[in-house]
Structures are given as structure tokens and as C-alpha cells.
Amino acid sequence: MINKICQGIEDAVAGIEDGAVILVGGFGNAGEPIALLNALAARKPRELTIVSNNAGSGDEGIGQLILGGCVKKFICSFPRVTGADAFDKMYEEGLLELELTPQGTLAERIRAAGAGIPGFYTRTSVDTPLAEGKEVREFAGLDYVLEEAIYGDVALVKAAVGDRWGNLTYTMSSRNFNPVMAMGAKITIAQVGEIVDLGGIEPEQVITPSIFVDKVVEVEA
């Protein structure tokens, strides 16, 4: 019987190695997999690359990883949010690398990794500093920038409901980056508010299908 359900949050994050590229779902606090991130921080990993829209806030979740000295580099679109003090301080001291990428390009680069596309062209960032060093190419008279896929080792996502195969659904706007991150990593770990029996999610209503998910752990909301 297929069973991707982990009994404890520690089991869920076991095996994540130093130096891993971690894709993290969420936008601000909505959909941020706080419990998984805290459990990961407790393992005291080193030299992680965190790929997420924001660079965390407060001392939980991504903030806890930063404070624990676990993060070497961020790839994100908007690191500065209210309460991103941990990030701000370490960035200003030169202790964190940052690869800034526009939000749409970030989402598309991760989807690309999940979809077998190593590179694609986009108008976004043409003629701006974020296009520096990137190939520019003309299609139908307009310039486009070549952007490359971001491949994750692990994705940490938060969902509302999950089942033992790994199907997931999300609540309202907490969906955001979560389904995208789930596509782009070798191993996807989901914290869910509720585990239901197989078939408890209507097949038309599955948002992240089981194929993109490796571990599921129930976490009280």
C-alpha cells in the first residue's frame, strides 16, 4: 500500500542535506510551511539555498533558519517584508547572498524545472539591471531575456488537505507558490491541516496531484 504519510514532523524533514536547494511555498505568511521550516532549522543544516518569494519574517519559519545560520543564499523576488529583521541584518553584514529575480520569472523558472524546460524567454527585466549578463534575443521585433530553470532538491509546502498518495488542496490565497514549488523539486514534503482517506478529495478538485508529492505530515493549524 502506498503511504506517504509521516508520523512526525521530524520524520518529514529527515534526510535533508547540507547545501541543499530548498524551494519554500508561501507568500508572506499565507501558505508558509512554518512547522516544516522550524523542524528543518532544529536539524541545524548548513549552507542551504532558500528559494521563496520573501525572506521570512520574525523568528519562525524562514526567519528561524536565518537566525540559526543555516542559509547561505536566497533566490527571491521580495526579501524585504515587515519583520524580515533576521534577513535584513545578515544581508547588510554581507553574510547572505541574494539572487533577486522578478516574481513572475521566479514562478516560471521553478515551473520550468518541473516541466523539463531548462530555459525560456521572457520580456520581464529587459533593459533593466536584472537582465545584466543574460542573453537577449529578438522574437517578432521585441527583445526577450533568456531565463534558466531553478531546480530544487527539496520543496517544503503547506496545504489544507492531503491524502496518503500525496494529493493536495489549498485554502484560498494560501495556494500561491505552493503548487509551483511542489513541481520543481526532487523531493516534495507537504504539511497539511488535515489528512483524508483516499478519494476524500474529488479528482476534479485536486490541485497538486500525487505525482508531485513524496511526504505528507499532518500539522495542527
Binding site: 507568500f27 508572506g28 505568511n29 499565507a30 501558505g31 518569494n53 525572506a55 523576488s77 521580495f78 526579501p79 524585504r80 517584508v81 515587515t82 534577513f87 535584513d88 544581508y91 547588510e92 541574494l98 533577486l100 529575480t101 522578478p102 516574481q103 513572475g104 520569472t105 514562478a107 516560471e108 521553478i110 515551473r111 521572457t122 520580456r123 520581464t124 527585466s125 529587459v126 533593459d127 533593466t128 539591471p129 536584472l130 489549498y170 485554502t171 484560498m172 490565497s173 494560501s174 495556494r175 500561491n176 507558490f177 505552493n178 503548487p179 509551483v180 490541485i207
Partner: protein, 232 residues
């Protein structure tokens, strides 16, 4: 005496410029305020880049839901007919040319429509760009909402941007406290000026070269109180 609009009135003016049925994205900051001034009975579908179509302001006294927020991470509410989707789909809407209008703030708007709104010079803090660059090229119309002049009096609409660009030649219309200016192929055209403002004075307060439209109108708005100063 120039009757400049306050920021809420500018938001009202922008909201009134948007047609029924338009799909509209509002940038973080001043632009999000446009949501509060949609004319009674006009259906406009607002897009939030974090995966929302059909948002509306949170009702007075309603309980905010942490899972229902806008691009500025503020709680919102939903119209019937709204939808949620993930970030790739959300930015496919933006980058694929499906958004009719986006409303963004600006540090500088160039005479040629260049936009700079993401990076100030001489700052130690980390850069942040969010969805601004995606919107600048992706939306069919890029509306800018800003004070006409900064606190030091420097114009926001300039001959040529000096700050790092968000997008080149992307701005289509600028709404300020004293004017509505459209970008035409041959330059910046003043469509509306505040009561009591002479064109010469407007030109003086603007870095770009302006042209006054033959059918220009007075920029007016109903009596709306200015926003309260936010505590920092």
C-alpha cells in the same frame, strides 16, 4: 491657488478611469487604495499577483482571514465570481497580456515612458522587485499613480530616468495630485490639470516636456478626506 487632489482623491480618479469588465492589477502601496473607490455598480475584476481574481476590500468589522490576502499582505475579501490559482498561472495572466490595466507607483517616469520604481540609490538594504517588472511589460496599460513632485520638490516625471529601470517605454498614463498625463507616441500629453493650475506652472514642476491636449479638462474629484498618517 492650485487645488491639488489628496492621495485618496487620486485613487478615486484612477478608479474612475477604469472601464467595466477590465481586469486590473494594483501595485503595493498607494495603488492598492484604488480598490476602495470603484464607482457604485461598475464591475471591475481586480487581480492580485498572489493568485486571486475578484478581490474586494475587507468589509468594515469583518474578521480578517490570514489565508486571504493581497499583494501587500493585507487582508481582503472576495466578490462572487472570484477565483484562486497558483503563482505560475497568476503570472501567466500578467506576462501573457491578459491584464488590461495595472496601477503602479513610481520614483521616476521618463518622457519616453520608462519606469523606475523598485530601487533607490545609496541604500545598504537588500533590493526587492516583486512583480513590478512582470507588470511593467505584461499589462496592456500601465497606469502610474504618484505625487507630482517629491518632498524636496523634484519632479517624478523626468526627461530621462536616472534610477535603475523597472521597464522601458511601458508607462501609458500618469495620475498625480495635479495632473493626468498620457504618453503618446510623440511625447507626454496633459489630459487634465488641477483647478487653478496654469500649464506653464505644470511644465515648470515637470522634468519631461509636456504638451497640453486641445480638449484638456479640469482634474477634479469629490470631497474625500486624505489618508490618515500611518504610524511607523
Amino acid at each position: 491657488m492650485v487645488e491639488a487632489l489628496n492621495r485618496n482623491q487620486v485613487a478615486w480618479r484612477v478608479a474612475n478611469d477604469i472601464d467595466e469588465g477590465a481586469f486590473v492589477n494594483l501595485g503595493v502601496g498607494m495603488p492598492l487604495n484604488v480598490l476602495n473607490y470603484v464607482p457604485e455598480g461598475r464591475e471591475i475584476i481586480f487581480h492580485s499577483e498572489n493568485g486571486v481574481l475578484g478581490m474586494k476590500p475587507l468589509e468594515e468589522g469583518a474578521e480578517p482571514n490570514l489565508d486571504l490576502i493581497n499583494a501587500g499582505k493585507q487582508p481582503i475579501s472576495m466578490l462572487p465570481g472570484g477565483a484562486f490559482f497558483h503563482h505560475s498561472d497568476s503570472f501567466a495572466m500578467v506576462r501573457g497580456g491578459h491584464i488590461d490595466v495595472c496601477v503602479l507607483g513610481a520614483y521616476e517616469v521618463g518622457q519616453n515612458g520608462d519606469l523606475a520604481n523598485w530601487r533607490l540609490p545609496n541604500t545598504k538594504s537588500a533590493p526587492a522587485v516583486g512583480g513590478a517588472m512582470d507588470l511593467a511589460y505584461g499589462a496592456r496599460q500601465v497606469y502610474i499613480m504618484c505625487d507630482h513632485n517629491g518632498r524636496d520638490g523634484a519632479p517624478k516625471i523626468v526627461k530621462q530616468c536616472t534610477l535603475p529601470l523597472t521597464g522601458a517605454k511601458c508607462v501609458t498614463k500618469v495620475f498625480t495630485d495635479i495632473a493626468v498625463i498620457e504618453r503618446a507616441d510623440d511625447g507626454m500629453v496633459v489630459r487634465e490639470m488641477a483647478e487653478g493650475l496654469e500649464f506653464e506652472e505644470l511644465q515648470e514642476r515637470t522634468g519631461a516636456e509636456l504638451r497640453l491636449a486641445n480638449d484638456w479638462k479640469t482634474l477634479t474629484a469629490p470631497d474625500i478626506a486624505p489618508p490618515e498618517k500611518r504610524a511607523r
